[in-house]
Subunit: 242 residues, 2 copies
Amino acid sequence: MQRKIEVCLTPALIDLYAIENSIVVVIDILRATSSIVYGIDNGAAAIIPVAQVEDCLNYADKGYLLAAERNGEVVEGYNFGNSPFSYTTDKVAGKTVVLTTTNGTRALHLARSRASQVVIGAFLNLQALCDWLKMQDKDVLLLCAGWKDQFNLEDTIFAGAVVQELRSSFTHYDDASVAAEDLYVMAKDNLRAYVGKSAHSNRMLALNIEDDINFCLQLNICQAIPVLVGDDLVALEQEFKL
Amino acid sequence: MQRKIEVCLTPALIDLYAIENSIVVVIDILRATSSIVYGIDNGAAAIIPVAQVEDCLNYADKGYLLAAERNGEVVEGYNFGNSPFSYTTDKVAGKTVVLTTTNGTRALHLARSRASQVVIGAFLNLQALCDWLKMQDKDVLLLCAGWKDQFNLEDTIFAGAVVQELRSSFTHYDDASVAAEDLYVMAKDNLRAYVGKSAHSNRMLALNIEDDINFCLQLNICQAIPVLVGDDLVALEQEFKL
């Protein structure tokens, strides 16, 4: 089986890739896709990512949980913010959550109109995701959400972790895959220190989200693979059962 | 002095960068910017990069040397191709050369309308370039020409070599600079082997340009820094003397 892996380092480059027969994995490690994986793993019925806090208001009358943050604080009147610690079983099981995430939503919306399938990746579900990708007869595009369309370290090293895991099952790689894998190899013994090299690390420190960062860099604590169905991210198994 | 270095991993991302007060270094290691540096170092009066073979024809009546290649062969009626071995003193000293290069020309044209200054980088002039950049009171954007707007390894590791050299003189770095430097550190003991990991390496082998590749990966055999003045790339010193 001839399959290829490519890494799209920012959403701004997605038009360069033919993804009609590809599974696109959207990656926004700090913190959107980590929170989504954790929430779905903890039994959320669905998570709906939106770009702006204001977009949440469209869902206000539906009984959904609304998650919105500005400058690291939960927006008044909303249920919680973007911390993965908000996505525990007691809070989200059986619920639908509307989540505000600028970079992650942009990446999802760019991918879904053309891709064969769109799923969500994070360190939290790395192994489960890779095991599933190996079993599909599809090319894979790893789409880094980045930061305002620019390259970022944390999404790229996660892409590299996936490349390393899939390498033996795929036949073709682009240069970005090679680079991402090499950066992951360099980073993997101390992911936290490596992410600390990021230009955004001061911004992250200012948000007081150190606990969140450490949480998001844990490997394989979740089995869920969120998949996009319409506007909703749901557990992959649920889709199969429909 | 507060100065920043950023790495633009492909020309498709250049609009994300504020470069009005920046020196932009255009990088197309295989082979355009290597040939340009070597040619200017060997006394070429000017090198004019154009995007298409057909564009060369606009210069046919001016007595310029015309360099054009298709599928690794010199185009009939042209003086030579894109190999840096064509840019020796006996061939180019005192001459103006029109050079066909798709990715390099695209990068140059995107940069020149906004940048404070546009110069040319290659492993061949790495040290001279970095010594000069350190002395300027400007931010630096390292612009990788890439391959059809996609990320490539060879341009990125050269950007990383510049970052490593400039790090102590600059105060701010973006994530792409961090990644490029780390990839260069990984690659530098055997640049040829690292470039061989590229998805393009089979394409390069097919072009039978192994000697060219090895030539382009040599460090610091040139002192020239080509600078863009109008449509022409000329030696930086020439511009200063005007």
